[in-house]
């Protein structure tokens, strides 16, 4: 009987251990969940020197984590911070403030 109890205890420990290890991993994955990726299609994006304005203007927004400019596609990719959001109106305002014209917005298009 004692042997059975010992075996059962050992088995329960073995089964619970991976769960205990997995729990922090899952939590870490939750924390590292990426924010929304927004792609803004912009007209007039032909000059790198001038397009720096988009990177600076959009990058100053609190919800924005990173800004990538693609001159070839005329696109601005905005990585939003996890847990934050950026509405269309704000994006349009930021693009206009940078001196460009917004054509359309694709959400999560780059995922």
């Amino acid at each position: 009987m004692k042997l059975i109890k010992t075996f059962a205890l050992a088995l329960s420990l073995c089964l619970s251990a991976p769960l205990a290890v997995a729990a922090p991993e899952a939590a870490a994955k939750m924390e590292a969940a990426p924010g929304e990726i927004i792609v803004a299609n912009v007209n007039g994006l032909v000059c790198d020197f001038c397009a720096q304005s988009i990177r600076k203007t959009v990058g100053k927004e609190d919800a924005v984590q990173k800004v990538y400019v693609d001159l070839s596609k005329g696109q601005v990719r905005i990585d939003v911070k996890p847990g934050k959001s950026l509405d269309d109106e704000t994006i349009e305002k930021l693009v206009r403030k940078s001196g460009y014209s917004l054509v359309s917005i694709d959400r999560n298009a780059a995922k």
């Binding site: 000059c47 020197f49 720096q52 001196g99």
Partner: protein, 211 residues
């Protein structure tokens, strides 16, 4: 006058001709630019409260007009055409201040006004700039046009290179029509232009820093 010292510094730092750099930055942006040619050297720093306006200080030492201008400059983006593969701009530039004649003499109220237009794709650049100056006893009108080609298409953040030809017309100058082949480089917030005005045998050196 402090402007004389500044102008002297400009003259030492510079050698040559005008940049068709855009006079308005993004909202909240600052720009520092210097243009140098056989006719004048200038330093202009401005702040853009909006994406269509900028205001700043402008200093120009003009050897053709034998005076140094120090004053304020206001720039207005009158119209911008944003297209999928191109952009066009129309600017108005106005300046008011004092003109200090070389070799002494009383400073006089001075002003200038100009219109600039440009259009570019990632491969081709064209611009036109006309400026009228009233520096006290001396007045002048000048025109400048540029045609540029990018030998390669660079991506965002890379070094961009342009080969350009600048054609200038100064009706009252000894050489009313001048040609300046030049190279324009820019990377990030820095722009540099270097060239040579054939008729006047003068170098061109312009730079812009946006921050």
């Amino acid at each position: 006058m402090p402007s004389r010292y500044l102008a002297a510094g400009l003259a030492l730092a510079a050698l040559a001709a005008p940049a068709s750099a855009r006079p308005v930055s993004y909202a909240g942006g600052w720009t520092l630019m210097q243009e140098n040619n056989g006719m004048f050297s200038s330093l202009h720093t401005h702040y853009s409260p909006t994406a269509t306006d900028s205001i700043g200080v402008y200093v120009e030492q003009n050897w053709d007009m034998d005076s140094t201008f120090t004053g304020l400059q206001y720039n207005r983006l009158v119209r911008r055409w944003n297209a999928p593969q191109s952009q066009g701009n129309l600017y108005l530039k106005l300046g008011a201040g004092l003109a200090d004649p070389f070799g002494g003499g009383a400073a006089e109220a001075a002003s200038f006004g100009g219109i600039a237009a440009d259009w570019e794709t990632r491969r081709v650049f064209v611009s036109y700039d006309v400026r009228a100056r009233d520096f006290g006893p001396d007045e002048s009108v000048s025109h400048a046009a540029r045609l540029g080609v990018a030998p390669y298409v660079a991506e965002f953040g890379d070094l961009h290179t342009w080969a350009m030809l600048q054609i200038e017309n100064h009706p009252e100058a000894d050489e009313p029509l001048t040609f300046t082949p030049l190279l324009r480089f820019f990377k990030g917030p820095f722009l540099l232009e270097a060239g040579y005005t054939i008729e006047e045998e003068e170098f061109l050196l312009n730079w812009v820093w946006r921050y």
